[in-house]
Amino acid sequence: MIDVINLEKRFGDNQVLRGISITIEKGDIIVVVGPSGSGKSTFLRCLNCMEDPTGGQIIFNGADIADMKVDINIHRRHMGMVFQHFNLFNNKTVIQNIMLAPVLVQCQDLRKAKQKNAVTRLANLFRSSSARKELIPVQTTKAKIKEEARAQALSLLKRIGLEDKADVYPSTLSGGQKQRVAIIRSLAMNPDVILFDEPTSALDPEMVGEVLDLMKVLAKEGMTMIIVTHEMGFAKEVANKVLFIDDGMILESAPPEEFFGAPKNPRLREFLSKVLV
């Protein structure tokens, strides 16, 4: 589903990614580990062009999104992202946070379709009856879109047991609750893949579990996930491939049993000896 080919990123003179290539299939759970400053977060942020890659290609659903000419917004709708610091919209209530993007995006599509239809209708006046073009079918209305998004948001909230928090502002939630809302906010767009950028690093220890549990449920449901994390236990249990990135390169890529059981790269061995005490 995602083909990363020779991805490079440099900030000025500082080359952070030095040619990363990897193929991600539908349903893959990929966990990325590595020492701090290794480029693992940059790699993740390049995948949805939060950082523009300076070289290489990212083929996502058949289009090269590393190309600056493509409309990245359309591709990002199919690529969820969960941040270390949650980044819930502070000026919106929990349910508004979840509904916002689906409603805006669908209303935008609706508006565009209506505009196109208006132009077609006008043009049809000057066409002979055989040459008339068909209108784009518009079956929905703004109110319908909002209603559906609301129902979806509520069912998502129910799933994580926070339906009673629908109308409060994010500032009243705990860290774990915020991160779980952030996860279902990205789910509300029905993405093909979700990117997780250290989703548990900013949480108090007792809240890490609830977020990881939700991620495990998503993994079981077959969601494609790419996760940058320091939770080695989670990687062992859930991932079907673990990547070790250091110095902007993938040094090892293996299923978790092999990755943790028989690491080949000496730097990975050193890294694991430090983190798996």
Binding site: M81, F86, N91, A101
Partner: protein, 236 residues
């Protein structure tokens, strides 16, 4: 104090019996019209300029726009408002062959002028919003403009509301120079009353009190707005 009560009598006579209050009401109306419309135009221009100034700069168009906005801000912050009024009314207007009343010119110039100041206020407001908010919006597939409008600017406005209130208060007081282009504001009204009765002490005192009252009312209004906008910060 017999002298003073005589002056008060003179003022009251001129204010009520000689229809001075009509002029004062007209003046008050013009003062408020210029300040409020000027502020609204200023917020509009200021938000646009501030948005341009925080645009990512790796493309050509944002850089050109940014240069234009810097020039605009330098121009309007670098000259006194009186000079701007005079230049607009006596130089630009005849050159362009337009016809506008003093009040219209004042509204326009005060709008353009406060736009320059508000752009800087708004820019600092936008920068005070955590960058993660923009990233979260963009990651969901919303455009820069949509995220700005829906997420960043509402939070920025909340942060800068006290400063924006300051700007409005400054604007109200600055309008007292619009008589330079023949707009009849509070000053013109009280000056008229004064010269009618050959007595300026009480009219100008009353004028000062009216300005203070205006500012106090506005301050109270801003406080109320702030409280309602702070809803999302409360923890309960």
């Amino acid at each position: 104090m017999g002298n003073f009560s005589q002056k008060v009598d003179k003022f009251i006579e001129s204010f009520i019996t000689q229809n001075g209050y009509v002029r004062v009401l007209e003046g008050l109306q013009n003062t408020l019209l210029i300040a409020i419309t000027g502020l609204l135009i200023g917020i509009l221009i200021g938000t646009l300029i501030a948005t341009v100034r925080v645009l990512p700069k790796y493309k050509r168009l944002p850089r050109i726009l940014n240069g234009f906005c810097s020039f605009y801000v330098a121009l309007f912050r670098g000259t006194p408002i009186v000079v701007q009024l005079l230049v607009f009314y006596y130089v630009l207007l005849p050159m362009l062959g337009g016809r506008m009343t003093g009040v219209q010119v004042s509204v326009l110039v005060f709008g353009l002028n406060s736009g320059a100041y508000i752009s800087e206020i708004m820019r600092s407001g936008i920068l005070s919003v955590d960058h993660g908010q923009m990233e979260a919006g963009r990651a969901l597939g919303l455009s820069f403009a949509t995220t700005m409008r829906q997420i960043v600017i509402p939070q920025a406005v909340k942060n800068i509301l006290p400063t924006l209130g300051n700007e409005f208060i400054a604007l109200i007081k600055e309008t007292s120079v619009v008589s330079f282009v023949g707009a009849a504001d509070l000053y013109v009204a009280f000056n008229y009353i004064g010269s009618n009765s050959y007595e300026f002490m009480v009219p100008y005192l009353v004028m000062a009190v009216i300005y203070i009252l205006l500012v106090l009312i506005i301050s109270a209004g801003i406080k109320m707005m702030e409280r309602s906008l702070r809803r999302s910060d409360r923890r309960h």
